[in-house]
């Protein structure tokens, strides 16, 4: 099978799978993205009539376009053969080990974003309850908690369900994704950290310093019922303590000194409840940002909102991937078209548009994007809007390359021949000239991707980027800068961002080297 036909089959499979998934109301990883486009709330109120049609029109429309592309590629790609020049370039690219390995790693990272909520998410992949099987992550239907034996009809928290199933040990079980946290709006408010008692002094698990701060003990039979809340000084109980009954109401107060009970005041009829409070197993409650810990499933800790860091980094990578695809497509489509048309026709059109381009290229790019974003309002910014604004200023660089190339190519004999044969302008531009000038364009792609990743993160970092419903590396970076006591936030984001950019830079450098090798002579 030739290369375009392989692509055609791939496109066909994706489109069919996404369509089938939508039809049967499934939530398939990544394929659900086609049907995720909605208007922002402001626009929904403004155009209530169009709002419900946006999602299906966008989704089915994209699938239809993919189908058409697949058909066109299948029909047109029958006798496809790689240009020998391209084959040689690809071979040269593969021989540049640093760049090629970076490329493989990068491709691996992109593939890793495809499992989507099957890898990172709060919904269980699989629930077995009383002999029945459920797949909550992969269906659009939301199972309420009473489906799984709870009294109330609330949203199910699968992480808690997993713990309670494990305690009950009735053969029910829950299979969570590898990272059981959503990429956004999934707060882990507080963390319980067990305090260790060594020689009568309490320490945080693994710590050498005696614990200072508030500690809480729970009913050993019911780990959710708080029994005593007391302050610790130098690892011993000291100061005011509060007692609670099984319902969670306060029933009495205590005074502690150096780990000894000094006095106790109980409310009326609370003696029986107070008798039950015996546990000396205390927990420290930590508010976010929480440090990395395996027990809660926060591999990299949380940010100050209590959102899992790893999940957000994963979601941020997905956003960067989507934005890059959109950005490269838009920027190159506009840049190539404008450049080719200008170069091919020349004359007045060229003169005028060159002046326009000169004006636009002297405007500070990021500042303008920030001004536009602040005018639109942060909540109304979506990934499509911000990428469109960025592309609106970024096509200039591409178009100047294409213009020069087209100026050169239009004088060549093959263009004259095509014209004599009666080919129209679009055909000459895109079938004859474009394939001959495309190779230099490909060397620009990695640098475009670097640009979009850096600008997007920078905009989010400074607060003029995507709203909170998008997971974002820039927002995390700003959050880490505002919480100096939580260095793991900035540390992880920095490593993720720089790794990604470094891989892309190495790939870009290798592609440039493969397409345009430097001649060199050594004298010895």
């Amino acid at each position: 099978m030739t290369f375009p036909r392989k692509i055609a089959v791939l496109l066909l499979l994706i489109a069919v799978a996404a369509g089938v998934g939508r039809f049967y109301k499934l939530e398939l990883p990544s394929l659900r993205w086609f049907f995720s486009f909605t208007l922002t709330e402001g626009l929904q109120q403004k155009y209530p009539k169009i709002a419900p049609y946006v999602t299906p029109v966008c989704g089915w429309g994209m699938l239809a376009i993919m189908l058409l592309c697949a058909i066109a590629l299948w029909l047109g790609g029958k006798d496809f053969e790689w240009n020998p020049m391209t084959v040689r370039r690809m071979k040269r690219f593969r021989s540049l080990s640093r760049g090629y390995r970076s490329f493989l790693l990068l491709a691996g990272l992109v593939l890793l974003t495809l499992p989507d909520h099957a890898l990172v998410g709060r919904k269980a992949l699989l629930v077995k309850y009383e002999g029945k099987w459920f797949f909550p992550a992969f269906v659009s239907q939301n199972y309420t908690a009473d489906t799984f034996g709870a009294a109330e009809k609330l949203a199910t928290n699968y992480r808690e369900l997993k713990e309670s199933f494990a305690l009950e040990n009735d053969g029910n079980f829950v299979l969570m994704p590898l990272i059981p946290w959503d990429t956004t709006f999934d707060t882990d408010e507080l963390q319980k950290i067990e305090l260790e008692k060594r020689d009568g002094v309490y320490y945080e698990t693994g710590s050498q310093k005696p614990y200072q701060g508030l500690g809480t003990s729970y009913d050993p039979q019911n780990p959710k019922a708080k029994q005593r809340e007391v302050t610790f000084r130098k690892g011993r109980l000291q100061g005011l303590g509060t007692l609670y009954n099984a319902k969670g109401d306060p029933i009495g107060k205590e005074q502690w000194k150096q780990g000894e009970l000094v006095s106790r005041e109980l409310g009326e009829g609370a003696e029986a409840d107070a008798e039950k409070i015996k546990s000396d197993q205390y927990f420290a409650l930590k508010y976010p940002p929480a440090a990395p810990s395996l027990s809660r499933g926060h591999l990299l800790g949380t940010d100050s909102r209590g959102w899992d860091l790893f999940a957000q980094l994963y979601g941020g990578l997905q956003v960067v991937c989507k934005a890059s695809v959109l950005y490269v497509f838009l920027t190159f489509a506009i840049g190539i078209t404008v450049g080719l048309v200008n170069g091919y026709f020349g004359g007045w059109l060229d003169l005028l548009s060159q002046r326009l381009i000169e004006v636009m290229s002297n405007i500070p790019f990021l500042f303008i994007v920030m001004i536009i974003a602040s005018r639109i309002g942060r909540e109304n910014v979506s990934i499509v809007v911000i990428v469109a604004v960025m592309s609106f200023f970024a096509w200039i660089g591409i178009s100047s390359y294409k213009r020069t190339a087209a100026l050169k190519e239009r004088q060549r004999d093959y263009v004259a021949a095509a014209r004599v044969l009666g080919a129209g302008v679009p055909r000459i531009l895109f079938r004859h000239i474009l394939p001959n000038v495309l190779s230099t364009t490909i060397t620009l792609v990695p640098f475009s991707v670097t640009a979009v990743a850096t600008s997007l993160t920078a905009l989010d970092f400074i607060g003029f980027g995507l709203p909170d419903r998008y997971p974002s590396w820039g927002t995390l970076l700003a959050d880490g800068l505002a919480n100096l006591e939580a260095p793991w936030i900035v540390g992880s984001v920095f490593v993720a961002l720089v790794t990604l950019l470094l891989l892309i830079t190495f790939v870009g450098e290798a592609i440039r080297e493969a397409f345009d090798p430097k001649k060199f002579t050594t004298y010895s």
């Binding site: 002297n362 405007i363 500070p364 990021l366 500042f367 303008i368 920030m370 001004i371 602040s374 670097t450 850096t454 993160t457 920078a458 970092f461 400074i462 607060g463 003029f464 970076l477 700003a478 880490g480 800068l481 100096l484 260095p487 900035v490 540390g491 984001v493 920095f494 961002l497 720089v498 950019l501 470094l502 892309i504 830079t505 190495f506 450098e509 430097k518 001649k519 060199f520 002579t521 050594t522 004298y523």
Partner: protein, 398 residues
């Protein structure tokens, strides 16, 4: 404007205790029109843009009063004086201005805003079901017309700080300039020798190693490195958290002053520099390699010129021509600095001015800094052109 409007509507940030419905909607059209006038939002945006450019006269020294019910006359105070003028409105919407007790009416214009005119402004700013009170009186406003825009060399005044924008920019520039100059000196003094060595020792371990280092630096965005340095270096107390100089700077001795300055400047400079090496180094290297492989160098070597001489006398001079094109690009960073790094390290330079203006919606500062930034880029391009013409004998402007 938006914030002040919210305050008037009783939902400002500080006193958001009562909602609009509970407090009763007490905004008077008169107040709203005055506010819109204060913030230069009372006319269509395009007109205000032309005023900012200096192609239309701007209304200055505004003062206003409302007409009593069914009255055709009212008195308006002249701004900055105790005297007033009498305004008589005509049925056709025009108005006449008369002096009271010999007050000067010269240079003053008057406009009468009917309830319909005020309704237009009302609808522009008050969204939702809040109707304008029906008993709105006519409003007389006196003002002077003055061309005060970009074409007259004026950038206007900040809406928040009441300071001239040009002055604010001039105060910030030396700070950004300080970083810019150090940065340029360092970049050129490191990149030139490094590029030459890399070109001569192509594919040696030195070349490969420095390539990785240079590209790694290129891949690190300055703001990300800034955040990392603040959290892991500055917060641990090794360097100051931010600012251009310490608070007690003026009390220090000369040596201590210099030390304090560089102590503060070290971390921001690292961020400025981290990505800057790659481009310049690779440009010098590639350009020199092209020339080393060219015929005239080969001829020179064949003629018996020493390699050292071939590099430094023959090819280096030619290979520095592309470098001249980048000279001008430094101008905007030299004077303008980086918004991100200035924000992270709290350096009160040009970039932070831009950022704060955006946060505070200070329109004239935004427009002024944008103009200056674009202008700097333009000057940079011209400087580049001149530099290329100077070093490249093939190019001349004649």
């Amino acid at each position: 404007m938006d914030e002040d409007l919210k305050k008037l509507m009783g939902q400002g940030e500080g006193k958001a205790t009562r909602s609009r419905e509970q407090s009763g909607f007490s905004l008077k059209p008169d107040m709203l029109v005055k506010l819109a006038g204060d913030y230069d939002r009372d006319k269509p945006d395009f007109i205000h843009y032309l005023e900012w450019l200096g192609m239309l006269p701007r209304d200055v020294s505004k003062s206003a009063a409302t007409f009593a019910k069914d009255s055709m006359e009212t008195e308006v105070q002249l701004p900055g004086t105790t005297s007033s003028v009498k305004i008589t409105r005509m049925p056709d919407g025009t108005a006449k201005i008369d002096s009271i007790n010999g007050s000067s009416t010269e240079g003053w214009n008057v406009r009468v805003q009917s309830p319909q005119d005020q309704l237009k402004i009302w609808k522009k700013f008050v969204k939702g079901a809040y109707q304008m009170p029906s008993d709105t009186p006519h409003r007389a406003e006196i003002y002077q017309s003055k061309f005060a825009g970009l074409l007259q060399g004026k950038l206007g005044s900040s809406m928040r700080y009441q300071e001239p924008v040009a002055l604010m920019i001039r105060q910030r520039m030396p700070i950004s300039l300080f970083y810019g100059v150090i940065m340029m000196v360092l970049i050129y003094s490191i990149c030139l020798p490094l590029g030459i060595i890399k070109a001569i020792k192509h594919r040696s371990w030195l070349d490969n190693f420095s390539s990785i280092a240079v590209f790694a630096g290129y891949a690190v965005p300055g703001y990300a490195l800034g955040a990392l340095l603040v959290v892991y270096v500055c917060a641990k107390g090794y360097f100051p958290m931010g600012g251009f100089v310490s608070e007690n700077f003026s009390e220090l001795g000369t040596f201590a002053k210099v030390k304090d300055l560089f102590h503060h400047a070290a971390m921001p400079l690292v961020c400025y520099l981290v990505g800057a090496f790659a481009m310049m180094t690779m440009m010098v290297k590639n350009s020199l390699m092209d020339h080393l492989a060219s015929d005239y160098v080969r001829t020179a070597i064949a003629k018996g010129v020493s390699f050292k001489r071939a590099v430094f006398r023959h090819s280096l001079r030619n290979s520095l021509i592309p470098l001249a094109t980048t000279v001008g690009g430094n101008v905007s960073i030299l004077v303008g600095g980086s918004m991100f790094i200035e924000k992270i390290f709290d350096i009160n330079g040009f970039g932070l001015l831009q950022f704060n203006a955006l946060l505070e919606r200070d329109d004239y500062v935004i427009m002024g800094t944008l103009t200056i930034a674009a202008f700097l880029m333009l000057i940079g391009n011209i400087i580049s052109d001149i530099a290329v013409a100077l070093v490249d004998p093939k190019i001349s402007f004649e």
